[in-house]
Symmetry: C2
Subunit: 388 residues, 2 copies
C-alpha cells in the first residue's frame, strides 16, 4: 500500500438539544476546533469532506459542501458531501482517506454534522425514515425503532436473548458516558430503569434507543508525509465498507447483518489482525440490539451468544473487549451525520492519550458505523503507531 | 502518477417527464445498460457511486447507495452517494476515480439519477433551492432562475452582453440535441423564439433555462489494468474540483465564478494542455448565462467577450470549440444528479466514436459540471488514448 494516513486533529461540539445553534454554527465550531487541535493553519487544509444525512429534509439545506467550506473560510478548496444515512460520517472519512491514499491531497478536514431538534413538525422522525425503504417500509408505517424491534424479537426467539441482556448494553454506555463532557446524557442507569422505561417498539423501550441530537464532530486526516511532524497522530491502519439489502423483508437473515460481517471480514483480512488484537471497539448502538448484533457479526463472540457476552461484562472498560468506551450513541447522542466521525475521534483520543475514560495500554482500536438497519456499514482500524 | 483510469461502459435512460418511471426504475435501467455496454459481468463491479441531489426532498428517499446496490443486484459491494447539488454526478465520478487511483477498486459503476417530475406539489422548485443558501437566499424568495438572472444582468451591464447573444447558446444546444434519442427536447429553435418566450426572471426567458427532468446516466470506470482489454475505453486524463462561496451576495464578483476558474486552471496545469488542445467541451448550461460564464472562466475566450464569441459561431459543431455537442442541459434535459455523468458519457461517446453528432478527429474533450451558482465545480479532461 501507498502512504499511511493519520488523524492529527479532533474537534467536537457538545451533543444535545441545542436550540440556540444552527447547523452551520455547529459545523463551524467543530471544524475550527479540529484545525486548532491539530495546530495547523487553515491554509494547510487541502480538502473538506462533509458527512450529513438529512440537511435537505430537516433544515432545507443541501449543498453543505459549498456552504461549510465558505463558513469555515476554506473556499475555494474542493468540498464533498457524502451520505449513507447514519453512516454518512465515516463514509466521508473513508472517501477522504482514499483521496489521500491516491496522492490527491495531504490534509483533509472531515466534518460530520446534523441538526435534528427544533426542526419542522415531525420531520426528524420522518427524515430519519429516509434511511429505510420509502415505498416498502416508510409508507407502511414502519419506524427505525420498529425495524430494530423486529431484529431484536427475532434474536430473542432464535437464541433466547432477554430484555435484561439488551439492557446491559445501555447500562454500560451510560456508565462510560458519565465522564464525557460532550455527552447528551451523563447519568448512570440500571437494568431496572431500562426495563421500566416507556416502551417505544416492543421489545425496545426508550432507554434501548439512542436519542435525537444536534451536534458536530470533526477530524483532520493527513498523509504520513505531513502527519509525521504532528504532535499527536493516531494512525488509520485500514478502512472497509459494504452494503446490505435496504428493505428488511428481502434480507436472508434477521439475526445477522451482512454488511457488518463483510466489513469485519475485510478489516481483519487486510490487516492480518484477529479479534483478540483489538483493544477497544466503537460500534453503532443506535438501538441496544445493534450493538449486540455488531459484537456477533464482527466475531467478538459467537452468533447467538451476544446476550450472555454483554451480560457477563465483556464490554466493560476492564472487560474482554471494551466497547463504546466514551459512552456510545446512547449516552453521547446521535447526530446522525456526525456519529461516524465522533467514533473515529473517540478511538483516536484513547490512542493518543486524552480520552475521557483513558486506557493507557490500548494500542489498536476499531470502529463500526452503520446506516439504516445496516444497508451501509463502514469500519476502520486505528493504531497508536503507524502500520508497519 | 499511479494507474490511468478509463470509462469503459455507458448507460442512459431517456431524459424527460417520465411519469411512469420511479427513481429506482430509472437508476436500474441506466446502471444495467452501462454494465451491458461495457461487456462485463455484474460480479466484476467492485463499487457503486451514486450522484443524486434531492432524493430525500423529492421522493423521501435518502440512503440511495444501499437501495440502488440492492436493486441492481450488487449487494454487498461498497456503495457511496455524493451530493453537491447539480454537480453531484461528476462529484461521484471523481470520488470513484480517486478510489481507483488509490488502488482500492478496479471497476466502479457511477450512476447519476434524479426524479423531479410527478413529485409532491412545488417540491421540485423548492428542492432545487436546497442548492442555494437557505437562510440568505431561499427564505428571501430567490429562485435559481432569479440568481442566474442577477448574474446575467451584471454581465450585460458590465460588458454590453445582449439577450440575443445569450439566445445563441440555447439555439446551438437545441440544434445539437436534434439527433440525440435521449434528449427531452429535439426541436430546433431560433433566436426569435428565445426572445419571445415567456419571461421567467428578467433577462432569462423560459428558453434560456434548462428544464425539470427525470432521468439517469451511468458510466463504468476502471483501472488501466482492467480497461486495457476492454473494447472501447475513453481515458480520464485528469479530474479537478473547487468550491466557491455559496451565497451570491458574499461573492467578490458577479461576472466570474471562482470555482469554475479554479477547475480550469487546475486541469490545464495538471495536464500541461492549453485551451486550443481541447477538441470538444461539455459545460453546465443550466441557464444560458452559465455556459457563457464557463467559456470565459475556462479561458476559451476573454472575460467579457463571451457574447460575441458565442454569437460568432465558435461553439458550433464546426466552430473553434464545439460545446455541448450532443445538446447540453438545455436540450437533453437536466435531471440534476445525472447531468455530470451524462456530460462524461457524451464526451466518451464522441471519443470512442458512437456519439449522436460524431466528430471523427476529436482526441481530447473536457467537462465542467456545476452545483448551484457555482458553489461547487467539478471538471474532467478525457482522451481518446491513455495519458502518456
Amino acid at each position: 500500500m501507498a502512504n499511511n494516513v493519520a488523524i492529527i486533529g479532533i474537534g467536537q461540539t457538545k451533543f444535545g438539544e441545542l436550540w440556540d445553534k444552527s447547523l452551520r454554527d455547529l459545523a463551524v465550531e467543530a471544524g475550527l476546533a479540529a484545525i486548532k487541535d491539530a495546530g495547523i493553519d487553515k491554509k494547510q487544509v487541502d480538502a473538506l469532506y462533509i458527512g450529513n444525512m438529512a440537511g435537505g429534509h430537516m433544515v432545507q439545506q443541501e449543498h453543505l459542501a459549498s456552504l461549510l467550506a465558505d463558513n469555515l473560510g476554506l473556499t475555494p478548496i474542493p468540498s464533498t458531501r457524502c451520505e449513507a444515512a447514519c453512516a454518512s460520517g465515516s463514509l466521508a472519512a473513508r472517501q477522504a482517506y482514499l483521496a489521500i491514499k491516491a496522492g490527491e491531497y495531504d490534509v483533509a478536514l472531515v466534518l460530520g454534522v446534523e441538526k435534528m431538534t427544533d426542526v419542522k413538525g415531525d420531520s426528524a422522525l420522518l427524515g430519519l425514515m429516509g434511511a429505510g425503504d420509502h415505498e416498502w417500509e416508510t409508507m407502511q408505517g414502519l419506524t427505525f425503532a420498529g425495524l430494530y424491534a423486529l431484529l431484536a424479537r427475532a434474536h430473542m426467539e432464535k437464541f433466547g436473548t432477554t430484555r435484561e441482556q439488551l439492557a446491559a448494553i445501555s447500562v454500560n454506555n451510560h456508565k462510560n458516558g458519565k465522564n464525557n463532557p460532550f455527552a447528551q446524557f451523563r447519568n448512570e442507569i440500571s437494568v431496572k430503569d431500562v426495563l421500566e422505561a416507556t416502551m417505544i417498539a416492543d421489545p425496545l423501550g426508550v432507554l434501548d434507543c439512542s436519542p435525537i441530537t444536534d451536534g458536530a464532530a470533526a477530524i483532520i486526516i493527513a498523509s504520513e508525509k505531513f502527519a509525521k511532524d504532528m504532535a499527536k497522530p493516531a494512525w488509520i491502519w485500514e478502512s472497509a465498507q459494504a452494503s446490505d439489502i435496504l428493505a428488511l423483508h428481502d434480507r436472508l437473515s434477521l439475526t445477522e447483518v451482512r454488511s457488518m460481517k463483510e466489513v469485519g471480514r475485510k478489516l481483519f483480512e487486510k490487516t492480518s489482525l484477529k479479534n483478540s488484537d483489538i483493544d477497544l471497539l466503537e460500534v453503532h448502538d443506535c438501538f441496544s440490539i445493534n450493538e449486540l448484533l455488531a459484537l456477533e457479526d464482527l466475531g467478538f463472540c459467537k452468533k447467538g451468544s451476544g446476550g450472555k457476552f454483554v451480560e457477563g461484562g465483556a464490554i466493560a472498560l476492564n472487560g474482554e473487549i471494551p466497547t463504546n468506551t466514551q459512552g456510545g450513541l446512547k449516552s453521547i447522542g446521535h447526530p446522525v451525520g456526525a456519529s461516524g466521525i465522533r467514533q473515529l475521534a473517540d478511538v483516536a483520543r484513547v490512542l493518543r492519550g486524552d480520552a475521557f475514560n483513558q486506557m493507557p495500554s490500548a494500542k489498536i482500536g476499531m470502529t463500526l458505523n452503520v446506516g439504516g438497519i445496516g444497508g451501509t456499514a463502514v469500519g476502520h482500524i486505528l493504531g497508536k503507531e503507524p502500520r508497519k
